[in-house]
């Protein structure tokens, strides 16, 4: 049981003027990035890392939590106004929100975005706060076998939810794992794939890779975009909070379902806010009393999916803090930051630094409460935000990427890594190879390899001990099933296709 004392200390850590200022600045940054189409919540996080590098652990993580929560919400703004999702997490209901705007209900669509985001975010935070400590208790008993299976499960889920062709998802995954093997092998001290570069001995730095894949690739995509920018509707936005209580009450069950789905999908390693939103939008339609209204500007789906994508954010921190296994691409970055700050994720952090981890949890609540006034402001200012010229913004972001990558190790080599990863990310996206599995694999790679070798040494080369402990056995079976699912689905589709072709 958590002592009140710890929570109070944590609250004291969080409610410092410095931390609060940082959170406020991060909120503004997150709202801006989220509402710019093409700049995602993951990118906001990646760009923040070099800045948080110079902070104490609590403000650093609180900044990331705040920026990502704001960005996920702010993605709804251009979705409703321009029919362009600001972040992938809003893509599921962009058409619906835009249809509402065309019907003259932009206030309702945007208001639902704010209120359900806050509600979902608070639900996710509460779930994190209550689920993480008992899980950590359980995780204390885990050995290398359980960790091996958990990280394999993370990889499997990343592959299962990756959009498009599973083969291309697998290529991305393998590429990420391979990038993770660069540097000195911890078991033998042999340096792998360093090609004589001293800078690679310690492995690839996460930040240049992420900034390259998410930000530089996006700038390249912007430079090659032919389409003319969308124009804003001229109408002034009225009171977004009008009728929100009634809406939340009317759709209390769908929104609650969105909260729960979002948290669970967020907690699932590999799947994040965007997947949660798609699934919740689909369940909202499936279980709605008036499914025929979906797609014509109906708020029900927006409410459920809007709650889901923000609750997923909290959910994703459950495996990240308890096991050190990222729940989505944002927490993949957060885990890197936690290591940099000496707050190594894992069950022991709940024993060694409970006040730090609780301060992180509390920052979730604060960030989501801040969203109410700041979200309102962002919507009011949306016209100004969306008219910032991209031709000026994108080069400045590129310069931020450059300096940010440099700042992690203070070497120009990092800029080279960022450049290469930017080209790789651009080519991957262009060819339908998703980036998220690669990033998750990069974080999970060392965990998998080290736990596998450790387990193998303990088991003296036998495979059976991987299944002998009850939790390890169950996790192993689940992992293998999840790994086999895409294959089974593929075979099933193929046989149906054959049957259809034969008939």
């Amino acid at each position: 049981m958590v002592q009140l004392e710890v929570i109070l200390t944590a609250l004291g850590l969080l409610l410092q003027p410095y931390t609060l200022t940082v959170m406020l600045a991060a909120a503004v940054f997150g709202l801006f990035v989220g509402s710019m189409p093409g700049l995602t919540a993951t990118m906001a996080t990646a760009l923040l890392v070099p800045v948080t590098f110079f902070m104490e652990p609590v403000p650093a993580i609180a900044a990331i939590v705040t920026a990502s929560a704001m960005a996920i919400f702010a993605g709804d703004i251009p979705g409703a106004l321009l029919r362009i999702p600001g972040t992938p997490a809003s893509a599921a209901y962009t058409d619906e929100a835009y249809a509402m705007t065309r019907k003259g209900e932009a206030e309702m669509a945007l208001g639902a975005g704010v209120t359900t985001s806050v509600y979902g975010g608070l639900f996710g935070s509460a779930a994190l706060m209550f689920a993480a400590p008992p899980l950590a208790e359980l995780a204390l008993k885990f050995s290398s076998y359980e960790y091996f299976w958990l990280s394999m499960l993370g990889l499997a889920c990343a592959l299962l939810v990756s959009p498009g062709s599973p083969v291309k998802g697998a290529i991305s995954l393998l590429f990420g794992l391979l990038l993770a093997t660069i540097g000195i092998d911890p078991m033998t001290g042999f340096s792998r794939f360093t090609f004589g570069y001293v800078q690679l001995l310690g492995g690839l730095s996460l930040v240049p890779v992420l900034v390259g894949m998410y930000a530089v690739a996006e700038i390249l995509r912007y430079a090659t975009t032919i389409d003319a920018p969308a124009t804003l509707p001229q109408k002034k936005i009225g009171n977004i909070f009008a009728g929100q209580w009634r809406m939340l009450w009317k759709y209390r069950w769908p929104v609650m379902r969105g909260n729960i789905t979002g948290t669970l999908i967020g907690a699932l390693p590999g799947a994040g806010a965007d997947v949660a939103a798609w699934i919740s939008y689909a369940t909202a339609k499936r279980f709605s009393k008036e499914p025929e209204k979906f797609g014509t500007g109906h708020v029900e789906g927006i409410a459920e999916a809007g709650a889901a994508n923000n609750s997923a954010l909290g959910g994703a921190y459950i495996p990240a803090t308890v096991f050190g296994i990222p729940g989505d691409s944002i927490t993949a970055i957060v885990i890197g930051v936690l290591y940099m700050k000496g707050m190594n994720p894992g069950p022991t952090i709940f024993i060694r630094n409970p006040e730090l981890i609780y301060a992180v949890f509390l920052s979730f609540f604060l960030a989501n409460l801040l969203m109410l006034p700041l979200g309102w402001t962002a919507i009011k200012a949306s016209k100004q935000i969306l008219s910032v010229p991209r031709h000026t913004l994108m080069p400045i972001i590129l310069m931020f990427c450059l300096v940010g990558s440099f700042a992690i190790d203070n070497v120009l080599f990092a800029v080279t890594v960022m450049l290469i990863m930017g080209i790789a990310g651009f080519l991957m996206e262009e060819n339908g190879i998703p980036i998220a599995p690669c990033v998750l694999a990069l974080v999970l790679g060392p965990l998998i390899e080290n736990n596998f070798i450790t387990s193998m040494m303990k088991a003296e080369g036998h495979l059976l001990p991987f299944f002998e402990r009850p939790i390890a056995g169950a996790l192993g079976v689940i992992t293998i099933l999840v790994w086999l699912t895409p294959l089974a689905l593929w075979l099933w589709r193929r046989s149906r296709w054959r049957a259809a072709a034969g008939a």
Partner: protein
């Protein structure tokens, strides 16, 4: 820049094969058969298999999928140039930041990119200088990142307002 799946497959498979051939020479572990080369070899095999699957898929769909679909931007010189300019800017930084310093690089890269994208050179110059000073202030003075000064070292004091 969308390639036919068969082309990607071949590249991926060759990459996998190269990884395997490298990992082959990694030392073996003492007591267990899983040394530093074990995981890379496994990943290499995976890449070869996935590449092979893509080749098969790409060949069966080769009628619908061209060998290389460049995208509309490649035939628009403006956009193709923009693409190259981003890469050239980064390359320029890597090559020259140590010599001419971060600040000069920043002004040059920002000016080139904004001038190209906005087509307004004077505006671009003004933004490039203002943004470079702001970035310098934020990262060097507040966050204390030791960005290289290069030949501008004697003037570095201009920004030092402490």
């Amino acid at each position: 820049m969308k390639f036919n799946d068969a082309i990607i497959g071949i590249v991926v498979a060759l990459f996998g094969a190269a990884v395997i051939s490298q990992a082959w020479y990694f030392p073996k572990a003492q007591h267990i058969p899983y040394g530093p080369g074990f995981l890379p070899t496994l990943l290499g095999i995976g890449l070869v298999i996935c590449g092979g699957l893509l080749v098969i898929g790409g060949l069966t769909h080769r009628r619908e999928q061209p060998v290389l679909a460049l995208g509309a931007w490649a035939s628009s010189p403006r956009h193709a140039f923009g693409f190259l300019l981003v890469l050239a800017g980064l390359g320029f930084y890597v090559l020259f930041a140590d010599d001419i310093g971060h600040f000069a690089c920043s002004v040059i890269i920002l000016f080139a990119l904004i001038a190209h994208l906005s087509r307004r050179p004077l505006y671009a110059l003004a933004i490039a200088i203002v943004a470079s000073v702001a970035i310098q202030m934020f990262f060097v003075e507040i966050l204390l990142v030791p960005l290289p000064w290069g030949v501008l070292e004697p003037y570095s004091g201009w920004f030092n307002w402490r």
